[in-house]
Amino acid sequence: MAMKSSELQKAGSWESEVFQVLNPEGKLLSELGGEIDEELMIKMYENMQFVRAFDRKSVILQRQGRIGTYAPFEGQEASQAGSAMALSDMDWMFPTYRDHAAAMIHGQEMYRVFLYWMAHMDGTTCTEGKKILPPSVPIATQLLHAVGTGWASKLDGDKDVSIAYFGDGASSEGDFHEALNFAGVFKTPTIFFCQNNGYAISVPFEKQSASRTIAQRAAAYDINGVRIDGNDIFAVYLTVKEAVERARRGEGPTLIEAVTFRYGAHTTADDPKKYRNQEEVSKEWRDNRDPLTRLNKFLTENGLWDETKEAELLSKVNAKIDEELKRAENYPKSHALQMFDHVYAETPWHIAEQREELKKYLAKDGDES
């Protein structure tokens, strides 16, 4: 299943070069061989609906001023949900600012994600006991962390793997190279999960690199590389699953390039019309390659889904989102004095004094709680 990158370099449209299981028409291209049962398929669909609803809600919340600038991921649900569902609870996850879908499916509580976009001081925490890191802002840096955590697990004989999420743009940074090289040398149980959504903000991948694919770079480090249809949740799940298993068996890292597309803006502060024919291209992907539509078709055709279920799901999902939003909005507001906590394990004198100083001002201003 995991095709060598060299096999993927033939000319043609990207669809002909990627690993695909469920095509856009909702047809299975190969046997699932029991790896994805009906329950799991339905769960996949539910998860994608869940995160899509979250994403749309967040865009609205941003417009209403209830959260700050937000980075939407609509269109990338299969990549994020499919990859996260292939993990176990114990696995380490290193998301970026766009990977909340993956994080939530891996166990991140939604209210914390809201807190993040509200810029709450606790917005960069994760569910207790989870190994989900705060979203990485500096591009490609988190790949190295995932090599490190994986390495430690390997040294300790633990079976958990580490997965780093990143974008096509990230593949240009030096840290991408150093991470893949270290992972190759130390054979760490690391999964490099690249969502190639075609753009780094406004810059299309053709300007990012002369190489046609990102997966082909795996060969430079003698690690596994595979290019998949990132809008096909079956392909994503199976590929990540295999990479995870290989990693757990001690067979080292995998680079996965999931070809996908973000329908919307880079962030709510971005205007995609500046750099692409936004309506047309976005509609093109939505109409012809949507990850939810194709699974819906497949499930419906196989009698596993219908409009009643859909309606039930949506109302459940919306209720959950409202509940989590309420939880976030009712969460005690960030207090300025929190900025002095956790700089060090023990607060040194100068920070303690500065805290006192601010405390005094806040008290005088009357806004200390």
Partner: protein, 321 residues
């Protein structure tokens, strides 16, 4: 301020064929703050270059471009994203002239938005100017007004040494000021007395300048204090003469900056005063600065930065010392 900056680049691209712009999303997108809006359409992709997402690559290739006859104006999307290029800046751009004893030079400008106050995500609000002010071979410039932004940027582009040009995001769209259309120069290395005064001097730069000016006018009105406000503008090398002259006159000073206090440039200003004007001092020079904590999430960023209130009280404490 952002229009003034765009205008300079536009005029310089038109005037000097050596000038090139490089950066992430500066082409059709016009930059995340729109500083390069419309320029690629006007000057083409060879002169306004959307680069790959790799800061060391951007700065490193720009060093080569500069050595070979170009004048690259690099946009780093936000100041913290210069770190991947730190080695290229510190070990090469700053030293190429020195190492080659003048045989090669690196005339380039690295423009980058910096500072807090616009509800940016993590790492979008850093204020680490002192890193560059500790690096011989670099110049560090921070405009505090649209007029200065234009004049300083022209000087930076014409300077034959690498200039770190820090643009306070909070001032990008903060105030309107008529700016002459033609190119003019504001010299590097010269501070500006923004407001004269006799009781105390406020040294500041960038976005904090506005708190400084506001505090000065408030205290003037409320308490009849007369504060001089000095915009340092070039942070490396500092304009010592203006600093000392002002302190000799007022005998009291505060430094207001949003960078962390420890090892921030406030310490450098204080040291210059200590060197040259200690005996004129009637009170310790107070630093009113960002705290020694990572710039926090924006829900509390306003309290991280010196507030008008903190500046005012700092001044009063210094005057009443």
């Amino acid at each position: 301020m952002i229009q003034a900056i765009t205008e300079v680049m536009d005029q310089k691209l038109a005037e000097d064929p050596r000038v090139m712009l490089l950066g992430e999303d500066i082409g059709v997108n016009g930059g995340v703050f729109r500083a390069t809006d419309g320029l690629v359409e006007k000057y083409g992709e060879d002169r306004v270059v959307d680069t790959p997402l790799a800061e060391s690559g951007i700065v490193g290739t720009s060093i080569g471009l500069a050595m070979n006859g170009k004048i690259p104006i690099v946009e780093i999307q936000f100041l913290a994203f210069i770190y991947p290029a730190f080695e290229q800046v510190v070990s090469h751009a700053a030293r190429m002239r020195y190492r080659s004893r003048g045989q090669f030079e690196v005339p380039m400008v690295i423009r980058t938005p910096y500072g807090a106050g616009i509800r940016g995500p993590e790492l979008h609000s850093e204020s680490v100017e002192s890193f560059f002010a500790h690096t011989p071979g670099l110049k560090v410039v921070v405009p505090g007004s649209p007029y200065d932004a234009k004049g300083l940027l022209v000087s930076a582009i014409e300077d034959r040494d690498p200039v770190i040009f820090l643009e306070p995001t909070k001032l990008y769209r903060a105030f309107k000021e008529e700016v002459p259309e033609e190119l003019y120069r504001v010299p590097l290395g010269k501070a500006k007395v923004v407001k004269e005064g006799t009781d105390l001097t406020i040294f500041s730069w960038g976005a904090m300048l506005r708190e400084a000016v506001n505090a000065a006018s408030k205290l003037e009105k409320e308490k009849g204090m007369s504060c001089e406000v000095v915009d340092l503008r070039t942070l490396y090398p500092l304009d010592r003469d203006t600093i000392i002259e002002s302190v000799k006159k007022t005998g009291r000073a505060v430094v207001v900056h949003e960078a962390h206090k420890t090892a921030g440039l406030g310490g450098e200003v204080i040291s210059l005063i200590n060197d040259e004007a200690l005996i004129y001092l009637k009170a310790p020079v107070k630093r009113i600065t960002g705290f020694d904590v990572p710039v926090p999430m924006f829900s509390v960023e306003e309290d991280y930065m010196p507030t008008l209130e903190r500046v005012k009280r700092g001044i009063e404490e210094t005057v009443n010392f």
